[in-house]
């Protein structure tokens, strides 16, 4: 397991698309350093030959019939949009 100090908070915050203030940056780096240090104890567990668990009761190949079901109206689907026009969501310009 990597050293807890490996956490590059700027890089990870960038991946997570969250702008941090300088105060948050300093505080989170310290707090998450503490959390990662405590997580280091997992290094002590012998996991050789152990299968990973993603779900406690795996159910796989859950299929639904390919049949149209009633859904939300455009009005209901768009009601929570921050900006809208003509049944579309308005966003800042993406392509120049």
């Amino acid at each position: 397991m990597p050293a807890a100090t490996d956490l590059n908070i700027d890089h990870v915050a960038h991946l997570a698309r969250i702008a941090l203030t300088p105060e948050e940056r300093t505080q989170f780096a310290r707090q998450l350093g503490d959390v990662l240090a405590s997580i280091e104890q997992l290094k002590r567990v012998d996991v050789s030959g152990v299968e990973p668990t993603a779900h406690a009761f795996p159910v796989s190949n859950v299929w639904a019939d390919d049949v149209a079901q009633p859904g939300l109206s455009a009005e209901d689907a768009l009601r929570n949009a921050p900006a809208r026009r003509d049944n579309m969501i308005v966003v800042p310009k993406v392509v120049e």
Binding site: L20, Q31, S38, I39, L42, H55, D76, V91
Partner: protein, 516 residues
């Protein structure tokens, strides 16, 4: 701090000395108020036409108005809508079309469970103005059962926390002591019941978020087996751990509410297709005696001595009823918190990527382009704990760290699950404390790591996908409730509820209410 000696005493026949409990004056006597009665009692009155749902709902509304400025269990409620639902319930009953044991009963909803037309905020600025366009599956089921959808209950933002202090709309307080936390993340759901502001409530439990607040507020809280209750319409935090479950004043009420919400749902692909028994009938049929395991790792350093004493008395009760009490070991317990904070944050970083300020939720005003809009909307919309967890989760999934953290945590998760399944070869259920301490003071756990350790006895259950219930088992010398956690086998909720019911029926903790 507790010692191994007291556990050894508890395991010895007749080994625990029964001490008189110091109940302080702030604990009121048995209440005859409508808002402190159980759904079971109230439905009998409704069916006998001695009470109407409108009268009951009005009493709950009046109580909420009287106490919620101090308790702050609710983010919002719609009085007129609740009374209209109650009037419809009364009309059904009068016409001989009553829908059973929840018809006309006000049910409070944790503000992460969708009710069409009602706010759905997750106690986050990100969703402060969001109104749900649809019903969660549990909501549809409760509406079909005639329940009154009553109010939006506060939580730690996006269910991340153990104190209901991390809410964008202010902290909920513990009705037993308003200077203390109600636990979390479903603190509003637990506090509302303890304060008489609802008859039953729903919460969600990812690492203890139903059981720990139930323990700290002196009510019953059940986390069902993963897959028993549909997650459709539950705001996702950690999808492999999240379950919706009931809060109630009694085990019987919890059984009724569980029966109403459980069952296979094709809209949740992790929903399990299994027959749902009549939990309430099973409760009365199953009498034990049971083989009960005491996991020694749950009685070590960090456990408050008064909590230990109350749980040991509960163990002694089961022994006195002829149950076989056996010490068992869950050797990977100490790794649970670490595994949880890798898996839960990894899943949260993925689930919360949907909040980008585009289709719904908070959108930053000033952004120079669409990427900048993501950064600023997320910076403004999320609180500190949510940001911390997204960053941690992003880190453990990022290139070069995935195997070391996430994959390793998933393997240790397998070992934790095997510990429980091994124990169930010898015993029917496990008895443990729910929380290492009674309710702590507001502001006492500013350090995230200290807060994470509140969940040390509840987290393993989520990692293993098991059902578990917290039932009141006494009070501290300071008059704060203590919870007994009973952990059951997968999909054996009927047996788990019966074990809890046997204890509850022989004690009268359920009749005690805080003075507000």
């Amino acid at each position: 701090m507790n010692t191994g000696a007291s556990l050894a005493d508890a395991l010895k026949p007749g080994g625990v000395k029964h001490r008189p409990l110091l109940l302080q004056t702030k604990i009121s006597n048995v209440s005859s108020e409508l808002f402190y009665q159980t759904a079971t009692e109230l439905v009998a009155l409704l069916d006998a036409k001695k009470l109407s749902s409108v009268e009951l709902t009005a009493a709950v509304i009046a109580r909420t108005k009287a106490v919620d400025a101090r308790v702050k269990a609710f983010n919002s409620y719609d009085e007129a809508d609740a009374l209209a639902q109650a009037a419809a319930s009364d009309a059904r009953r009068s016409a001989g079309q009553g829908r059973g044991p929840l018809d006309g009963i006000p049910v409070g909803f944790k503000d992460v469970i969708a009710v069409a037309g009602q706010p759905l905020t997750a106690s986050s600025k990100m969703l402060a103005n969001f109104v749900s366009p649809y019903d969660a599956t549990v909501t549809t089921k409760l509406k079909n059962a005639g329940a009154i959808c009553w109010g939006r209950l506060n939580l730690d933002e996006f269910a991340m926390g153990s104190s209901t202090e991390n809410s964008a709309f202010g902290a909920t307080r513990n009705p037993w002591d308003l200077t203390r936390v109600p636990g979390g993340s479903s603190g509003g759901s637990a506090a509302a019941l303890a304060a008489g502001e609802a008859i039953v409530t729903l919460g969600s439990d990812t690492g203890g978020s139903i059981r720990q607040p139930a323990a700290l507020c002196g009510v019953v809280g059940l986390k069902p087996t993963y897959g028993l209750v549909s997650r459709y319409g539950l705001i996702a935090f950690a999808s492999s751990l999240d379950q919706i479950g009931p809060f109630a004043r009694t085990v019987e009420d919890a059984a009724i509410l569980l029966g109403a919400i459980a069952g296979h749902d094709e809209r949740d692909s992790t929903s399990f297709n299994t027959a749902i028994p009549d939990y309430r009938t099973e409760l009365k049929k199953r009498k034990g005696p049971w083989r009960l395991g005491i996991p020694k790792e749950y009685f070590g350093a960090g456990l408050d001595p008064e909590v230990a004493a109350a749980v040991e008395k509960a163990i002694a009760f089961y022994r006195s009823q002829g149950c076989e009490i056996k010490e068992v070991s869950l050797p990977h317990t100490e790794f649970g918190v670490g595994v949880y904070y890798i898996i839960a944050t990894a899943e949260c970083s993925s689930n919360l990527s949907r909040y980008d300020g585009i289709r719904y939720g908070h959108r930053a005003k000033e952004a120079k382009d669409i990427i900048d809009l993501y950064f600023k909307s997320r910076a403004e919309g999320f609180g500190a704990e949510v940001k911390r967890r997204i960053i941690l989760g992003t880190y453990v999934l990022s290139s070069g760290y995935y195997d070391a953290y996430y994959l390793r945590a998933q393997k240790v998760r397998t070992l934790i699950r095997q510990d429980f399944l091994n124990a169930y070869r010898e015993v029917d259920a496990l008895l443990t404390p729910t929380s290492p301490t009674p309710a702590f003071k507001a502001g006492a756990k500013a350090d995230p790591l200290a807060m994470y350790l509140c969940d040390v006895y509840t987290i393993g259950v989520n990692l293993a996908g098991l059902p578990a219930i917290s039932v009141p088992c006494g009070f501290s010398s300071g008059g704060l409730p203590i919870g007994l956690q009973i952990i059951g086998q997968p999909f054996h909720e009927a047996g788990l509820l019966a074990i809890a019911h046997a204890y509850e029926q022989a004690h009268d903790w359920k009749n005690l209410h805080p003075k507000l």
